[in-house]
Symmetry: C2
DNA sequence: ACTGTAGCGGAACGAAGTATTCCGTTCAAG
DNA sequence: CTTGAACGGAATACTTCGTTCCGCTACAGT
């Protein structure tokens, strides 16, 4: 797009981005997609990928780390925000759903041997979650029988909406997030079942597929 | 279970059931599971499967048809039930989630060339859906800005809860169905986005993976 | 201008997985 | 006994994928 587009170096730098964006999109659509699909989507050859990442696993790790960073960025903004407790919470939830970072991380986790960094990043994101949720619940804008860990499952449910093209999905995810958030405010009933425990959520990072 | 369990014939008849149950369980856990996984889960050889079904596709078709029948049975019970509108609706939703028939049908649809019967069974289930939903909404126990087709997506979301073993999942699915149902009663907000259309839902039966 | 090489496209390779077939075995029924 | 329905599971014939390899091109540094 810009002037300094000529030159092999510039082309390569641009490919860095294209490849990462493509990988994100492809693996978001199908976490077990072949690496060739990423190359095709990016409009480059396979070797362009292998020049940058020693293996598929490394690419996935990078993608997962980026997703976690994105999640953290949205969460930090919510922690900082001192506006109306409900609105901050709502914005946070909508933000995470919009970035799809939760989906990316969850689907990719467990597909590679987790690095130390990722483990810490994940723990940090957890503390941010706690603070955001705590503030909202203390303020009384969230029913008392939901738990921080319910948030993860709510993301999981909203992300399970896979109908139509990407634009339509965004629209529908917004719709059902709103529905869930309405359910999260009222206290017309008492939720059955124990909320998810930390251990249950963290087991996502285990070896399995 | 019964006395006449000896004899090759009886053994075979029992296998019919074991195989079908196993197939249901295995494909529910992983719709793209290999046929060998079903045989292993059932504790039989592969030829025991091929003796009954000419191909994997036939088995999937049968499974899908059974799932639809199960769905229809629950729905018919709800249509017949003239009790409290909200309770009938609630029982219906919980019933579908408990049988997992919606999940089975949705994951299996599109993995085989659909037969005429299935098409009709599906259409019939749709009309039952309409009647159940209509009654609840007419009675005013469901907010006016939700649509029949939202039900399908609600099932989809609840079924996306995949944590822990089967018992734990049942528990959590009940929890989140309750949360969604709480959201479906109140009218504290107006849901954003258009509700799903018929066409969007029926495209599940298309060729794709 | 010249040339070494970074960067790349894509065919080739080998390992893994899978639907289906095939063959030898078993055992109850006649 | 004998026979064949029912079966276990190895063998077959593909397909799919991650990764490597082999040339080719065009820029960077001289």
């Amino acid at each position: 797009m810009t002037k300094p587009m000529s030159g092999r170096r510039a082309q390569a730098a641009r490919n860095d981005e294209v490849i990462l964006r493509s990988a994100r999109e492809v693996f978001l659509a199908d976490p077990s997609a072949p690496i060739a699909a990423v190359a095709e989507h990016a409009g480059v050859g396979i070797s362009a990928l292998y020049r940058r990442y020693p293996s598929k696993e490394d690419l996935l790790r990078k993608l997962c780390a980026d997703g976690l960073a994105q999640y953290t960025a949205v969460a930090e903004a919510a922690v900082t925000d001192e506006g109306d407790p409900w609105e901050v919470f709502e914005r946070f939830m909508a933000g995470i759903v919009a970035t799809r970072s939760s989906s990316l991380v969850r689907h990719l986790a467990g597909m590679f041997t987790p690095s130390e960094e990722l483990y810490h990043a994940s723990a940090y994101a957890g503390t941010l979650n706690d603070r955001i949720f705590e503030r909202a619940q203390q303020a009384g804008v969230i029913r008392p029988d939901v738990n921080v860990n319910d948030m993860a499952l709510i993301f999981e449910m909203v992300e399970a909406v896979t109908i139509g093209d990407e634009a339509r999905r965004r629209e529908l995810r917004g719709r059902y997030l709103a529905l869930l958030l309405d359910g999260i405010r009222v206290s017309s009933s008492v939720l059955p079942g124990r909320a998810p425990e930390d251990r249950e959520l963290s087991s996502r990072w285990d070896p399995g597929t």
